[in-house]
């Protein structure tokens, strides 16, 4: 038998980027505890639509925790109170009857609100464009085993590559710093031979772009690794720092 609960929602409503927003209160009645958080918002949106009101805008796509589109700050926690999950993987069974839930968008100067809970995260794409790639000349693919990669390095690179670019690290950081994101993108290449030729240029370009976009500075608060839905470790940030110092002080890259 499915359990249902009633909730008091306080949802951030904002018509557009330069409009003033505010928290609005909604009653969520008979919410199945089997629902995901996003399905709960779907129910609210259907009710709002029936009443002729504007539904709550929020980002979502795969709804299985791998695309990185969804995310909102739920009672002060990006992606909600569970560890290692995205908002779509958060189920309503983690809430109790008559709970008050405050839902806010990611807050960062570099992530302007588009509407309600949807924010513009193209700043993350801009940092990738600045250096989060490897350049490969086209031609016949070489044998997969031609370049030896130690198993441990491959695992660490894969851990970093698990980043889905959701922006929760920025939302969680008291300084709105994207260092965990940048460090994951730098690490996944720095750990592998294919990433080495452009390592110095990548570290400098990505950090420079991060600073230009108006993000805050990392002060090792460790909130990012605690909130990351892919549980990416701040050891990647230490690696980014090493890569950056190597590039800044020892390479010819300017």
């Amino acid at each position: 038998m499915t359990k249902t609960i009633n909730l008091n929602l306080k949802v951030w409503r904002q018509k557009g980027q330069n409009k003033k927003g505010r928290l609005e209160t909604y009653k969520a009645v008979d919410i199945s505890t089997d629902m995901s958080f996003l399905e709960m918002i779907d129910v609210i949106n259907e009710q709002l639509t029936h009443k002729g009101k504007e539904p709550v805008a929020f980002d979502h796509d795969c709804r299985e925790g791998i695309c990185g589109m969804c995310g909102a700050v739920v009672n002060g926690r990006p992606h909600g109170p569970e560890m290692g999950t995205t908002l779509c993987q958060l189920h309503m069974r983690h809430f109790s009857d008559n709970d008050t839930i405050v839902i806010e968008p990611w807050r960062s100067r570099a992530f302007p609100v588009i509407k309600d809970l949807a924010v513009d995260r193209s700043a993350l794409d801009k940092m990738i464009q600045a250096g989060g790639f490897i350049s490969i000349n086209t031609g016949g693919a070489q044998d997969a085993n031609a370049i030896p990669v130690p198993q441990e390095a491959a695992e660490l690179a894969m851990d970093a590559a698990a980043c889905i670019g959701c922006g929760a690290c920025v939302a969680a950081c008291p300084n709105a710093s994207p260092m965990l994101f940048v460090s994951a993108k730098v690490s996944q290449f720095a750990l592998l031979p294919q990433g080495k030729p452009e390592a110095a240029k990548r570290a400098i370009s990505m950090v420079r772009e991060m600073d230009r976009l108006g993000f805050g500075n990392c002060t090792n608060e460790r909130e990012c690794e605690a909130e990351c839905p892919k549980e990416i470790s701040i050891t990647n940030i230490a690696r980014l720092n090493r890569e950056y110092f190597k590039a800044g002080f020892l390479s010819a890259e300017k």
């Binding site: 928290l23 807050r107 100067r109 710093s177 090792n220 701040i234 980014l240 950056y244």
Partner: protein, 213 residues
């Protein structure tokens, strides 16, 4: 911009300057504490330690200038980081909740830092920029801590310093890129142990001078 300036003035560069100057202060505190502990050996031991220290002459001046320079870098960079980080989130959250990453030390760094700056100015006025003719350093210190207000201020300042160091020390290693699976637990532990050594080592001295010596 020149490569050195652009490296140092980037967000990671600023952290590097905070880390290196911060580690210098930790080294200084260890030395300062070792010297101050001679107070427990009595008036003469403490005075002779101070005399030996001052007899080093130009070396002392060099270290003082180094500390002053480090302090300027640490304060100016810290203030810049504080301002930039405030600006990075113009609209704040209405509900703030930690996921367990932040500590008392990490969340209060700019504020404990500011309190320490005020304390250091007071401390220099009390014991450094003071007329030392016809008196000994022991007498100066002893008479200062006869006033219980100073005892309270100094003990409070050492608690603040310990909170600042509890985050600052391990954080400096992380910033320098020295985060290693084998050593990080030790470094984090060391931050707390060093903080406790500072608060007990320095903090008990005024109490000892005021009520026991």
């Amino acid at each position: 911009m020149n490569w050195l300036a652009s490296t140092l003035l980037s967000s990671i560069g600023k952290k590097l300057m905070m880390a290196i100057t911060g580690l210098c202060f930790c080294g200084f505190l260890a030395g300062h504490l070792a010297g101050n502990l001679t107070i427990y050996l009595g008036k003469d031991a403490f005075n002779s330690y101070a005399e030996h220290l001052h007899s080093l002459g130009p070396i002392i001046t060099l270290v003082e200038l180094g500390l002053l320079f480090s302090a300027l870098v640490h304060i100016l960079t810290g203030a810049t980081l504080f301002y930039q980080n405030l600006k990075a989130r113009p609209v704040r959250y209405s509900v703030n909740k930690s996921a367990g990453g932040r500590t008392l030390g990490s969340r209060t760094m700019p504020y404990t830092g500011f309190i320490l700056l005020v304390f250091i100015v007071l401390h220099l006025i009390n014991f450094h920029f003071i007329d030392k003719t016809d008196t000994t350093i022991y007498q100066i210190v002893h008479s200062a801590f006869a006033n219980y207000v100073y005892v309270v201020i100094y003990v409070f300042a050492m608690i603040v310093a310990a909170i600042h160091i509890s985050h600052g020390l391990w954080s400096a290693f992380q910033t320098l890129g020295a985060n290693h699976v084998k050593y990080m637990p030790f470094i984090r532990g060391l931050s707390y142990v060093f903080s406790i050594i500072i608060v007990l080592g320095f903090g008990f001295l005024p109490i000892y001078l005021a009520y026991i010596a």
